[in-house]
Amino acid sequence: MTPDLDLVPFVPELVLVAAAIVGLLYEALARGPRYPVHLAVALAGIVVASGATLALWRYGGDPTVLAGAIATDRLAVLARLTVLGAAFCGLLLGTHAIERDPAAARGEFFPLLLFATTGMTLIVAAADLIVVFLALEVLSLSLYVLTGLPGRRAASEASLKYFLLGAFSSAFFLYGVAMVYGATGTTRIPEIANALVGRTGEQGLALLAAALLLIGLGFKVSAAPFHMWTPDVYQGAPTSVTAFMSAATKVAAFAALIRVFDVGLQALRWDWTPLVAALAAVSVVLGSVLAIAQADVKRMLAYSSVAHAGFILTGLTASNADGIGASLFYLIAYSAMTIGSFAVVGVTTTRGEDRTDLDAYRGLYRRDPHLAAAMALFLVSLAGVPPTAGFIAKVGVFGAAIGAGYVWLALLGVLASVAAAYVYLRVIVLMFMVEPEEALVSDPAPLPRIAIAIGAAIVLVLGLFPGLVTDLVRSAAVLRW
């Protein structure tokens, strides 16, 4: 018997890898200014992959294809689209950074970003723990290199830290995979679920596996106390790469976490939801409090990303379609906010990476009112104030947590949001109410402004008309297996 090869649900990854290989060959063979062609190839790859992903929304075949390796459900479609959107904006930002600083430019940026995107779109659809692990490594290895690509001192240090801690966390994840395999005799997520259902007696191995997998994925989503790498890497990496990975890595790792825990380990949910709740509580509190002490905007946004990982975990304590849907909505909204805010960071001054301190934001409104308004919108949304996407997202995850009986966690989240609002308001006050001290000029380049406009539009539309996507999110939250 030959296994039937239905490659349709795998087309997005094939397209992305093809575009990446074309980019690599072009970089090796072509001479002269190459970035316009690189950008065109990469954008074409992402657009075609998005089209192929959209076509999967109505896919009617088996829940998993390729011998159970790839899931075809709508969670995979929606998460892939979010990742591809983040990659689209990351490409625009990265191209601008290369144009501005040709000395630090590397043509490998484009293929590496596409490989990272491939890993991310693959991990959100992976229905076998082997594929989850391989996709995790594809995206991580690409991101380690992307982080250190400019070769500046801070970038290479960030790359080293990211690599060492990332490899450490991958080892934990893989040990978790081994323990699941020991407990159930399979690595396919649906079969793991079936093997664990109705089992009584000794569950030690499966519980150990759940803890190890949670540690491994907790590193990747930068949940406290596994967040140590986040501030250093976000600050040291080029701002365009930070924008891309802060959004796309979170979506990818959370989608994997949803699939592994809400499908594979569903039978053990009474054991792992308290762990998720504990991680969520530590993350929201630590992230919000430590963000207050930061003088660098990228570092501040990094700690804010830790807090947001906590909010998304808050939704996942529900471990049902409500919680998954709320977390998915949060991931989409957070992607738009974080890419937008890092895009603003990249163009606040023409000196880019050198000026990411808060002082560069003094009187930004006088220098560049549009940029200041966009940044204010993103910060207000990160704080969770209506009428922005951040508010709707927070309401969703808190509602899911309360529905699951975690009232204390929702209360803690609300309190932490209030404390964190100070962080964001401080920057807004600097931008609008303080006179500029230095003669700084903001970067007028068009490409980053496109990314900022996309982010701002999504934040506003999701905030004012959340009904546009709630149905999509709800149908994506029903996992088929």
Binding site: L141, Y144, L160, A167, Y175, V177, Y181, G236, Q294
Partner: protein, 101 residues
């Protein structure tokens, strides 16, 4: 007489713990990386032992995948460590303090 599977799993647990400890207490980036490799090999041992226990090959296949990934990790990791060494003539992670809170 066959050695019980549990012994192999216990040995892998010990190796994994040693690797974790190495990552946490070593200060040289290369030695930290070697400790991670020890952890990955502990995983491989557990996978092969479990494959034997289940009388199935999945675990051995996964062990091969993990070796390939470990090799790819070595390529990227050593490149990063060399890049850092060229820049600052040391790979002691305590000297990496450009980025601090």
């Amino acid at each position: 007489m066959r050695t019980p599977i549990a012994w192999f799993v216990m040995l892998s647990g010990i190796l994994f713990a040693l690797g974790s400890l190495g990552v946490l207490i070593r200060r040289n980036a290369l030695l930290i990386f070697m400790s991670v490799e020890l952890q990955l090999n502990a995983v491989n041992l557990a996978l092969v032992a479990f494959a034997r226990m289940h009388n199935a090959l999945d675990g051995q296949v996964l062990a091969f995948f993990s070796m390939v990934v470990a090799a790819a990790e070595v390529v990227v990791g050593l490149a990063i460590i060399v890049a850092v060494y060229r820049r600052r003539q040391t790979v002691d992670v305590d000297d990496a303090r450009e980025l601090r809170w």
